[in-house]
Symmetry: C2
Subunit: 199 residues, 2 copies
């Protein structure tokens, strides 16, 4: 590519995105150069807009453009059930599954001693405050079933002192469509331990 | 994601890029929301700049920001050898291989009767004009070894009437690191037909 400056600059900028290598960046850049000018402008515009407008919900720390996010504002969501997730992306996944009608609390990470991330770097203090306000009846710990996610779940459950609040952990087991012959041992162990009576 | 407007809009814009599905678009959007504002601005800026500044070289139809592209302007490139490619991306690949010191001509596509693309939709007329100006000694047809690319190569070679101009076609054969046991029959046939005496 020999209109060096602007194409190379665009490829460089695109390369900084996660999971975008030089080949993909080049493909995208060539597409952008060829697309209608209006589309390129709109893409640039939405990048700036999203980056500028989006902030964190005052209550659950999900992304929002207003003070409270739409889930916290929604009167049809059950504020007595709190689902604790690591990231807004996790929240999005659960929302897409359409299987949860409570509210959320986004930690923005998990406790990771090796990376120097302790409870204070996460929104755990705010979570405990929310729980202590008294209306919460159940806290579902939906951090990832990884070492860090599990540690975070254990840490939070230790912090909740009220015996009236039910603390649960999302189930671990074989994913839908999974193949028992191929599933790893830890998952199998969890799936067996978590077995439920068939009704 | 529940700060509907701007994140959804960004995901939508990113989804229009080639090879970017909703999952990747969401991942990229979440990254953009989290990155330093300066980076987001720069990405948006380079999109607009690239789209606005880049145009086609007057001579070879490669991308450029000036009237002639850097290859056409370069006195060290051999203007007597013309390498004909389908797209600027193909040109980039050849440039990266560092194995060609002549100049290019970008057709911006290949003849594709089924898609209604004939010679007039490509930069073939301009290619023939360049050739007829008299300084070109060899035309390397580096269109893809596909039905359309081959048809385009044959069409162009038919158009060049001067017997003094050498018309060549890039070699077809087993790619470097390829496995003869896995290569398709057409490629093997081409590789055998194109065999060369070992020096």
């Amino acid at each position: 590519m020999h209109s060096k400056d602007s194409i190379k600059k665009l490829v460089g900028s695109l390369c900084e995105l996660p999971g975008i290598g030089e080949k993909t960046a080049t493909r995208l850049a060539l597409y952008i150069i060829n697309c209608p000018q209006e589309n390129a402008r709109q893409l640039a515009q939405s990048i700036i807009e999203a980056r500028e407008k989006v902030r964190l919900c005052r209550q659950c720390f999900n992304y929002t453009e207003t003070d409270l996010c739409v889930i916290c504002k929604d009167p049809h969501r059950d504020a007595r059930i709190l689902c604790v997730v690591e990231t807004p992306a996790d929240l999005m996944s659960i929302e897409k599954s359409n299987s949860f009608k409570g509210t959320y609390h986004v930690l923005h990470g998990a406790i990771a001693p090796l990376d120097g991330i302790g409870p204070d770097q996460l929104r755990i203090k705010e979570l405990i405050q929310r729980i202590n306000q008294g209306s919460v009846k159940e806290v579902i710990l939906a951090t990832n079933p990884t070492m860090n996610g599990n540690a975070t779940a254990i840490y939070i459950s230790d912090q909740v002192t009220s015996a009236e609040i039910r603390i649960t952990r999302i189930a671990q087991g074989i994913p839908a469509g999974g193949d028992i012959g191929y599933v790893d041992q830890m998952t199998l162990k969890n799936a067996l331990e978590g077995r439920r009576t068939m009704s």
